[in-house]
């Protein structure tokens, strides 16, 4: 519907937001893509050697730490997916057993309110090899337990995954709970009358009905995993060695630690590409959902 009065004010009101979008986001992305084609080191250079424009990407793909970062990204993604499963189980239980709902919600969600640096600090302390949970378990006689995960490159990622799952399960629980509540309550009584087992009810009816919620959760999780930075800094700072590098950490390390702007830009562009790969289904999903809701509205 067209409102033709004071035609210029709304357009003028958009100017700051458009300027920010064009300069900071669109301009920024173009700028970084351009830098990734140059030989910039600590100071940006703006000449592109077109015979060798792929140079930084070539170096990136040969870089061991980048390979570790990508591998850790996948490990972290799969590991963090536990948070969705865990979140769903918690939501399903809270939804069926209404007693104590607000108490459990409050407890499961509080980690989300605190900074990942704080989360990292807490878990780093729990995994402390001298005074942490390991000596505690050993003092109980469980001397075979190895719980100083952060001191070994093979297990450090597990500690990060545990901390991320602890932090984010409540969030997925909240999304799942919203999804479960929107399911028609008649399904429960219908299933009970038909004598459908609980397992079948969930795997064959409820979960398929909630596939949109699950896809949303999966995409949000993937985007979160790509952005994972704070928790790595707080728990391991990339170590031991480079064993807990992830792309977000690698990129910032390349820029501030190694001081190599072109190289860091190439890594940042790759991060954008990974985000786009994850993001594409979301765009399609939103379009699909809008078309579906439009059809229902008719």
């Amino acid at each position: 519907m067209a409102l033709r009065w004071s035609r210029w004010s709304p357009q003028l009101a958009l100017v700051p937001a458009i300027a920010v979008t064009l300069v900071a986001f669109v301009g920024g992305i173009i700028w970084t893509v351009y830098l990734s084609l140059t030989r910039s080191r600590r100071i940006p250079e703006y000449t592109i050697d077109w015979s060798d424009w792929f140079r930084q990407y070539d170096r990136l793909f040969r870089d061991d730490a980048w390979a570790i970062s990508l591998q850790n990204l996948i490990i972290l993604g799969i590991g963090s997916a536990l948070a969705i499963v865990f979140g769903f189980v918690l939501a399903a239980m809270i939804d069926r057993e209404r007693r104590g709902e607000s108490f459990f919600r409050t407890v499961f969600l509080y980690p989300l309110a605190i900074s990942l640096i704080v989360t990292g600090a807490a878990w780093r302390w729990i995994f402390n090899p001298e005074y942490g949970v390991e000596p505690f378990l050993h003092s109980l006689g469980l001397t075979w337990v190895n719980a100083s995960w952060l001191s070994s490159g093979e297990t450090a990622m597990w500690a990060i995954i545990l901390a991320s799952v602890w932090q984010s399960s409540g969030f997925y629980m909240a999304l799942m709970l919203a999804g479960l509540k929107s399911i028609n309550s008649e399904i429960w009584s219908a299933a009970r009358l038909d004598g459908v087992s609980l397992w079948k009810l969930y795997t064959q009816i409820i979960i398929p009905m909630m596939k949109f919620t699950f896809v949303t959760c999966a995409i949000l999780l993937s985007l979160g995993v790509i952005k994972a930075y704070d928790v790595v800094v707080a728990m391991t700072n990339g170590g031991p060695g480079q064993s807990t590098y992830v792309p977000a950490f690698f990129t910032i390390q390349a820029m501030t630690g190694r001081g190599n702007l072109g190289f860091a830009s190439a890594a940042a562009v790759m991060m954008l590409v990974i985000t786009a790969i994850v993001f594409l289904p979301l765009v399609l999903l939103t379009a699909w959902q809008q078309r579906r809701s439009a059809r229902i509205a008719k």
Binding site: M1, L3, S6, S9, P10, Q11, A13, L14, P16, A17, T21, F25, G27, G28, I29, W31, P44, L90, M93, R96, E97, R99, F104, R105, V107, F108, Y110, A113, S115, L116, I117, V118, A121, W123, W125, I126, E130, Y131, F136, S139, W166, G170, F171, A174, L220, I226, Y229, D230, V233, A234, A248, T251, I252, M255, A264, V269, L272, T275, F279, L282
Partner: protein, 310 residues
């Protein structure tokens, strides 16, 4: 027979009513399952509380007790020494003035970035939702994409831009970058909220010779109380908890509390005072936790709105 007797006269002749257990067996199985579910949920709740418990007890212990190694034990003597130390004299880099420096930086970052980000996004969302502007659809789509762009891809350009504006390394630099990065998501949230305002209200307001700004201040603003509080809570927690922007754009003396905390816990020189670290972690966590425990419902609304609509 006795099971369906609902009322019976007792010795004094009064009618006593006992609840009739019509389906005693079925009820019993449900409670059994309920107990199992509640026990499981309670165990999960315990798992969620362990880190908080450990952090709290450690922050009240003395270093001598920590060295004994019993992580889960309660402090022999509850002492505020570590809290005092973390607040007043913990070292972040070369400055040893405690976390209070970071606390005040965080507060002074918070206020301008809240005003900037919410101000811009509110007006943009209002214009996009209720006025006929050109290319609104395309602009919304671009904002939608911007909301998901990883920070690293615009990190160096933002450093250069803030340096050109001479705010790099200051409170204003951090606040400005927060406002810029939050703008796309917030605009989408406000736009989604305003688009449900009935068109009749707008038409009537325009007929009443209301201009763009007058309608905003007299009609829209008073209607935005709910969404404003949700967004405010969401922004306060996310800006307070941010580390990356603070460490990138904050200079010495203008880094937020999280950066101080990260410096404190990752430092490896000298003897680590774990009780100080845990007290510092708690000090950083207290402001968002207080918000969460008082207005948890709005907090959840905020994060889910930010996640889905963004």
């Amino acid at each position: 027979m006795s099971e369906i007797t609902i009322a019976a006269r007792n010795a004094k002749g009064e009618v006593t009513v006992s609840r009739a257990p019509y389906f005693p067996r079925k009820k019993k199985t449900i409670t059994g399952r309920s107990i199992a579910v509640l026990v499981f949920l309670a165990l999960c709740a315990l798992f969620f509380c362990i880190p908080l418990y450990v952090v709290v007890v450690t922050s009240f212990k003395t270093m001598d007790q920590i060295r004994e190694g019993a992580m889960f034990s309660l402090p022999y003597v509850w002492t505020l020494e570590a809290w005092d130390h973390a607040w007043n004299s913990a070292c972040s880099g070369i400055n040893c003035n405690g976390l209070k420096v970071g606390f005040w930086s965080s507060v002074s970052i918070l206020i301008p970035s809240l005003i900037l980000s919410i101000g811009i996004s509110m007006i943009t969302g209002y214009a996009l939702a209720l006025w006929n502007v050109r290319w609104a659809g395309a602009f919304l789509f671009i904002l939608f994409i911007c909301a998901f762009v990883p920070f690293q891809i615009i990190m160096f350009p933002l450093i250069s831009m803030t340096a050109a504006l001479k705010v790099y390394g200051s409170i204003w630099g951090v606040a400005l970058v927060h406002a810029v990065l939050a703008m796309p998501v917030l605009t989408l949230i406000f736009r989604n909220y305003y688009k449900d305002i009935p068109q009749e209200i707008m038409s009537a307001a325009v007929m009443d010779s209301g201009s763009f700004w007058r309608i905003f201040t007299e009609i829209i603003l008073p209607m935005s109380g709910n969404i404003l509080i949700v967004v405010l809570i969401m922004q306060i927690t996310s800006i307070w908890n941010d580390y990356l922007i603070g460490v990138t754009f904050g200079g010495p003396g203008s880094q937020p509390m999280t950066v101080n905390l990260a410096n404190l816990i990752t430092i490896s020189t000298g003897v680590t005072r774990y009780n100080d670290n845990m007290a510092a972690a708690l000090l950083t966590a207290i402001p968002p936790l207080v918000i969460y425990f008082f207005v948890g419902k709005l907090f959840v609304q905020g994060i889910t709105a930010g996640a889905i609509k963004g």
